[in-house]
């Protein structure tokens, strides 16, 4: 437990910007909220009278749903806004939108945007709290936090554990946030993908980089398998999805060579038979559905913490 720790960030923009202590504090806080989610009455009055706006510039059912449930369970009023990303030079800018909504006395913005840094820009321009629900290929901090929470729950701790992230690293905000979080909490991180979807300078994250799946699975205590957007990412390099599965897919056979209790994670939605076989997705090592449950507790914790910061200075 982080004793006497005071959370003082009004925003959650990414895990790069958090200290190990802050990340741990969120995970600890989420433990309490996980208990709340096991009750018959899953609602607490902590954010009564506050209003959250879910600004989604990109379609999302899962993350938005998860945030909405978390907000409602905290007794926060919720307004969902499906935003059409405006064209470059016409229409209302992101900052305009933020200021207009702030005039409606919104306390918390949850934003999903296809452009990296959109939450950072909003955070600088409004005094309300900003929670990044995914910005381009930059960060998806609540997803990584729920992954960390799940790993900690399953393995007891994160420090010293070997965690491999497998799949399209280049186009993954989940990967980036996970790398920051895992590194800060002391895990040994390996990233694994065909070279064309590995960032050119990935080594500078301080991770082991490999394009061999067996290397990523060997000694891994947990793996986080990313969703492949096959057509966009690697259709040129792999003529068929089967070919990708043959080389990188997580099958039962491959898993047999890994540690017996390896924790298998996936941020969803799964492409069964591309990045992971159905047997593995539904198998005993899979914690995929627990991740979804933990997502609520993590998002409740984040909402609760940022909402409590009174001195709203941009972070």
């Amino acid at each position: 437990m982080t004793k006497n720790f005071k959370w003082n960030k009004k925003d959650l923009l990414g895990l790069e910007y958090l200290s190990a202590e802050e990340i741990t504090h969120i995970l600890d806080t989420a433990e309490s909220f996980k208990e709340v989610t096991t009750r018959d009455i899953k609602k607490v009055p902590a954010l009564r009278g506050k209003t959250a706006a879910n600004l989604f510039y990109e379609p999302s059912t899962r993350t938005r749903g998860s945030f909405e449930i978390a907000e409602k369970r905290l007794s926060c009023d919720v307004v969902n806004m499906d935003m059409k990303a405006s064209s470059i030079t016409k229409g209302e800018t992101l900052i305009d939108t933020g200021k207009n909504l702030e005039a409606l006395k919104i306390d918390i913005f949850v934003i999903r945007h296809s452009n990296p840094g959109a939450p950072n820009i909003l955070a600088r321009n409004v005094s309300a709290s900003i929670i990044n629900a995914g910005d381009g290929f930059h960060e998806h901090p609540t997803q990584a936090l729920l992954d960390l929470f799940t790993i900690r729950e399953k393995l007891g701790k994160i420090k010293g554990k070997n965690v491999s992230i497998i799949g399209d690293i280049t186009h993954s905000r989940v990967a980036r946030s996970n790398i920051w979080g895992l590194k800060k909490l002391g895990a040994n991180v390996t990233i694994c993908a065909p070279k064309i979807i590995l960032p050119k300078f990935a080594k500078e994250f301080g991770v082991k980089v490999t394009d061999k799946i067996d290397v990523a699975l060997k000694d891994a205590d947990a793996i986080n398998v990313l969703r492949m957007q096959f057509e966009r990412d690697i259709a040129d390099a792999f003529p068929s999805k089967e070919e990708y599965f043959n080389q990188y897919g997580i099958s039962e056979e491959r898993l047999k060579k890994a540690k017996k209790n390896i924790v298998v994670m996936h941020p969803g939605p799964i492409n069964r038979g591309i990045e992971m076989s159905s047997e593995v997705a539904d198998g005993k090592n899979s914690v995929i559905l627990e991740q979804v449950t933990n997502g609520i507790a993590i998002r409740m914790a984040v909402l609760y913490l940022v909402a409590g910061v009174k001195n709203k200075v941009s972070s």
Binding site: E16, I88, T89, T93, L94, I95, H113, N115, P116, G117, A118, N120, I121, D135, G136, F137, H138, E139, R173, R176, P199, K200, F201, A202, E204, F205
Partner: protein, 422 residues
């Protein structure tokens, strides 16, 4: 009106003057430079501790007129230049329409004649509509006043087209300015390629995309004994290529912008699009190489690439924002702090790269204080510290990453053709 500027250090690289003297301006001309000058009826300016130099010459600005008057105009750009001590500029032709025919240039010249509060020289396009396909009529463009040719904003991607332009130059020794960016390599990029781009999830622009074109242009210019000027040099490799080419006698010159010798890619971590430009801000090693290249003369001059954009084009998502920043009002202090204070240049050297040297490249009779010549003069205090406030920006656009920063070195008086300008 007569002006007598007393007791300042007069620096004039062309005439090798660098001492405390008085300057008398009369009838629009530099009347006399000497000790203890007296002039009846002259307005006296006590400029003790200040420096009097030729008005600065900025060979790379975007004044956006015609077509983008909401960003800048010949008038507003001129006033911004005056604030920065700049008395001559060369305006880039990527307006709407672009400056690719003599008719279009003549129309622009009319606006300049009316609104240009400083000397505004026009650059013409290398290719029609800046499409990189068909070269323009250089003779005709030259006859209506174009001092050089460039597709700035775009690269002439085809080596064949660029070679054709060089061929046309022939013995006329035309000035070609190269916006060196191989767009087949840089396409989609919004900041420097590297770990920072990788971690931010932004697409990178490699050093290679610049220096490959610099390399190509050097080769072609050498082959045709033509003249090439490399705009906004941003990479270490380009500096080295230019240095080597100069040694081999290639007719090559180059410019660097204040932001490229002041800032690095690290600034992009803020996602503030005022740090987004083309070429992008690079690494510290590139910044160091540019300063070294300015010091040893590989880079001949400082040019701002003054690129005004409206709020809705800059104060938005980084990937969507337009490239470029305004620079006229901050060039001098940035150069003092990052080149003079760091001993890359002495004050004489600085004045040279900001006035005489670019005037020479443009082939215009500017950038010196020769007695009898037109009095384009700047008086600045090299020590005065000031805060660059948004409210004080004269340019129509406010897209500067230096807003709110303390700067050292302030322009006190700018004279254009002997008139005190403001």
């Amino acid at each position: 009106m007569k002006y007598l500027i007393k007791n300042s250090t007069v620096i004039d690289p062309k005439n090798n003057i660098n001492e405390v003297l008085d300057v008398l301006i009369s009838n629009g001309k530099i009347k006399q430079i000497g000790k203890n000058l007296k002039a009846l009826g002259a307005k006296t300016i006590n400029a003790k501790g200040m420096i009097t130099a030729p008005g600065f010459v900025d060979m790379h600005v975007h004044f956006r007129q015609p077509g983008f008057e909401y960003k800048e105009t010949i008038l507003s750009g001129s006033l911004s230049a005056i604030k920065g001590g700049v008395t001559s500029v060369a305006v880039m032709p990527n307006t709407n329409p672009v400056m690719d025919t003599s008719e279009r240039v003549e129309n622009l010249q009319k606006i300049i004649k009316k609104d240009g509060k400083i000397n505004v020289f026009v650059l013409g396009c290398i290719t029609r509509e800046q499409k990189g396909e068909n070269i323009t009529d250089f003779s005709k463009l030259k006859s209506v006043g174009c001092v050089g040719f460039t597709d700035d904003g775009h690269c002439v991607n085809s080596a064949k087209v660029m070679e054709k332009a060089f061929e046309k130059s022939g013995k006329r020794n035309l000035l070609f300015i190269s916006h060196a960016e191989d767009t087949s390599l840089s396409a989609g990029g919004v900041m420097n390629e590297g770990f920072i781009a990788d971690k931010l999830g932004l697409k990178g622009v490699s050093n290679e995309s610049e220096y490959k074109i610099v390399e190509r242009d050097i080769k072609l210019a050498k082959k045709h004994k033509a003249r090439i000027h490399i705009a906004h040099v941003s990479t270490k490799e380009s500096c080295e290529l230019i240095r080597k080419a100069k040694k081999q006698g290639v007719k090559i010159t180059a410019e660097a912008t204040p932001h490229h010798f002041t800032l690095t890619e690290k600034e992009c971590e803020s996602f503030n699009a005022n740090f987004k430009m083309a070429p992008p801000l690079r690494k510290q090693k590139d910044v160091d190489a540019i300063k070294k290249a300015i010091k040893d003369g590989t880079i001949n001059c400082i040019a701002t690439d003054h690129a005004p954009h409206a709020v809705h084009e800059k104060d938005i998502e980084f990937s969507n924002a337009m490239n470029g920043i305004i620079g006229l009002e901050t060039a001098l202090p940035l150069a003092i702090e990052n080149l003079v204070d760091t001993k890359h240049l002495n004050m004489m050297g600085l004045v040279c790269v900001m006035s005489y040297s670019p005037a020479q490249i443009l082939g215009v009779d500017k950038g010196h204080l020769t007695e009898g010549s037109e009095a384009d003069v700047v008086v600045f205090d090299p020590q005065e510290k000031w805060i660059y406030n948004k409210e004080d920006i004269v340019s129509k656009s406010k897209n500067s990453p230096f807003i709110g920063k303390e700067l050292k070195g302030k322009v006190k008086y700018t004279f254009v053709a002997g008139k005190l300008a403001s």
